[in-house]
Subunit: 406 residues, 2 copies
């Protein structure tokens, strides 16, 4: 059902970053469900985490450890979210970190735990501990594709992206993987992304660069509007390159790196949408001419999360009335509908507060045949633009989310 994503891309290794995967038998036997990412000494790591107040135990521990010291290991299990369990969940997450620390001669707080899978079931930390020696044995800088597979839950495709550019004559690579397809089965909790670069970037700049990139990618995708309890996106900079440390955000090297990071994050974020539950269409929603970001996002998300817009998209129906009604209820104060234009790809469907005069149903129907459709909303109020991505709402979405017990 995924839109595109047929071919997994070639993943360029990152010096100073190794990955290993193993089968711990967390939910299924003989199914890769455990991944370890090792960062060589001297590397740095930063992350953005879910804002859900009911965040999972591993998120709490990962944030705490990240504050305390530079991490050496990221331990990711699928099959169980370790969420909604109170103190026993915290204990299990710490136990997992302990077992990596013991086997690798590091401190427990140098290990960051991540979990994705069913909410509310006890995490079998002992199974994870038993698989740690094998995980460490498997570590290799070519382990990206296996890792992309081992972090999947209801994803139908592994998701990865890798790109190398030249900065000041030096090759710099960013390689990353992501997972997520909804918040699902019974509650797969949900989006994770692990991205690494060989660039050497001053840690606080690394963090602000990730925030910038995430706010244009992972924080702009919505399948069902539901924020998972376990979301995290991590960025590792191993620093194992000839290029000197980047510390000035306005230098050309920083700008080049930011642009590359933006591309990687966008690819990995959109890959999640492409593999969205029951998705048959990739929908890009662009809001132009807003007064500020909040207004642009409010209109964008109201359209992107409208069940009526999404079912119309599933039906390949250019239903301009539903888009117009969603814009109208987005809570923008003093919205002058006379100034609003709405396009499907390049086709104007709404202008001057109503259906565009030039619009014909057959033109709209033709646009809707594509697998990817852009909805462009021009508010005509200011200079702010936001872009976000979503899927349609299909029978399969309901099936996947309603019938998981079968």
């Amino acid at each position: 059902m995924a839109i595109g994503l047929e071919v997994f891309p070639e993943m360029v290794p990152i010096a100073g970053v190794r990955l290993g995967s193993a089968c711990a038998g967390i939910k299924y036997k003989n199914h890769p469900d455990l991944t370890l990412i090792e960062i060589a000494p001297g590397g740095s790591c930063t992350g953005v985490f879910t804002r859900n107040a009911f965040c999972a135990a591993p998120v709490t521990i990962a944030k705490k450890h990240l504050k305390e010291t530079e991490p050496r290991y990221l331990l990711i299990n699928s099959g169980n979210a370790n969420a909604g369990l109170g103190q026993p969940g915290i204990d299990a997450a710490i136990q997992c970190c302990d077992s990596v620390a013991k086997n690798s001669n590091t401190a427990s707080n140098q290990v960051l735990p991540f979990s994705t899978g069913v909410i509310g079931e006890h995490l079998p930390a002992e199974k994870i501990a038993a698989a740690v020696p094998e995980l460490l044995n498997q570590l290799s800088d070519t382990g990206w594709q296996q890792a992309a597979q081992a972090i999947m839950t209801t994803d139908t495709r592994p998701k990865g992206y890798s790109e190398t550019i030249q900065i000041d004559g030096c090759p710099i690579t960013i390689t990353g993987i992501s997972k997520g397809a909804g918040m699902i089965k019974p509650d797969m909790a949900t989006m994770l992304a692990f991205i690494a670069t060989d660039a050497n970037i001053e840690p606080s700049l690394l963090n602000s660069m990730l925030l910038i990139a995430a706010n244009k990618s992972f924080n702009r995708i919505t399948i069902d509007g539901d924020t998972s309890t376990n979301d995290a996106c991590m960025l590792i900079a191993s620093g194992q390159t000839e290029l000197p440390e980047i510390s000035d955000p306005s230098c050309p090297a920083a700008e080049k790196f930011q642009a590359l990071l933006d591309r990687v994050c966008e690819y990995l974020a959109v890959a999640i949408i492409r593999d969205g539950e029951g998705a048959t269409k990739l929908i890009e929603v662009v809001v132009e001419g807003a007064i500020d970001q909040s207004e642009a996002l409010s209109v964008g998300y109201t359209v992107a999360e409208s069940p009526l817009v999404k079912t119309a998209m599933f039906a390949s129906d250019p239903n301009w009335g539903r888009i117009l009604a969603a814009v109208g209820r987005a809570g923008v104060s003093d919205l002058d509908i006379e100034h609003i234009s709405i396009y499907l790809d390049d086709l104007c469907i709404v202008e001057n507060g109503g259906r565009a005069e030039s619009y014909r149903e057959e033109l709209g129907a033709a646009v809707m045949q594509a697998e990817a459709v852009k909805i462009l909303i021009q508010l005509g109020r200011g200079q702010h633009t936001e872009k976000l991505w979503t899927t349609d709402l299909s029978y399969d979405y309901v099936r996947i989310n309603a019938e998981y017990r079968t």
Copy 2:
């Protein structure tokens, strides 16, 4: 597919209010699609209208006429929303008012127009004008059930309620009808309610009483989170009773009347949810212990509009993790998850930030067998409570909204 609503209740006539219905052939031939409600001189009328910025032409005109003078007629057509059409839509709405005025010897601004049906198609005002003489002929104080039927679009059941109470020894009745099942086909634009009483109520008090009742009923229901362009709820007070005018909001008569009005509005609003598109479950979401109304509503709507919660409800799955995750992402600042409890009916499913210790899957599954389920969320932060209603999200919701062209 409607939940309950098998029997249309007996409707007590309201002295001073007559209704007539007719077939104007707006969308289908020989299908009642036009309704006229007549208010005898001396009666008063108030309303609440959609806040969608793209409100339909009849809403614009009805609000304008209501400001200018006391209305004598409410003209309602189904089959066409007269929305999203700019000035031609306004012209058509005025033309409809004109034809009622001409045939009834009233002024055009004493007529309020209402439309519900497809967005973006030209309203055939000439067909409506042609049916007006017949409509006036049909006027009768027993026309409520026919009117409830003529205002339907994709509703599967007419919706009405009538109740008489004694105030100071005098019988006072409120009788009302509503329509709505989603925002649908291609965009049925959507909820309408017409309520009348024989009580004599000071006009500004009548308006504030309707606001109070609507904020506990019509403004607390959500099927898909989509606000229609045409929503309106009108309340008529004919004043044709022995009971003196009620003008003091704190007098016992006003309190009794408000309680009755609240009941009528709640019944008619919940009837819309019961007939929600594809609905198999009526879900009441109650948020207790919020600091203020905005917080309570934010949590309530986040849960009520979560596709994951709604598909779980469709599957009769007591999926506490999805409810908990929706509460966690509702944007409540400094939410202390340790103080939150969540119940399905009387069964505690979440306490102390995680699954309740006493909770067992089979107990949850038993609660979920019912056609109506209450989700109670206790935030433990303050004294504010809000109640709202929604439906589950089923295959039929997607079918109805995706396959309307068939």
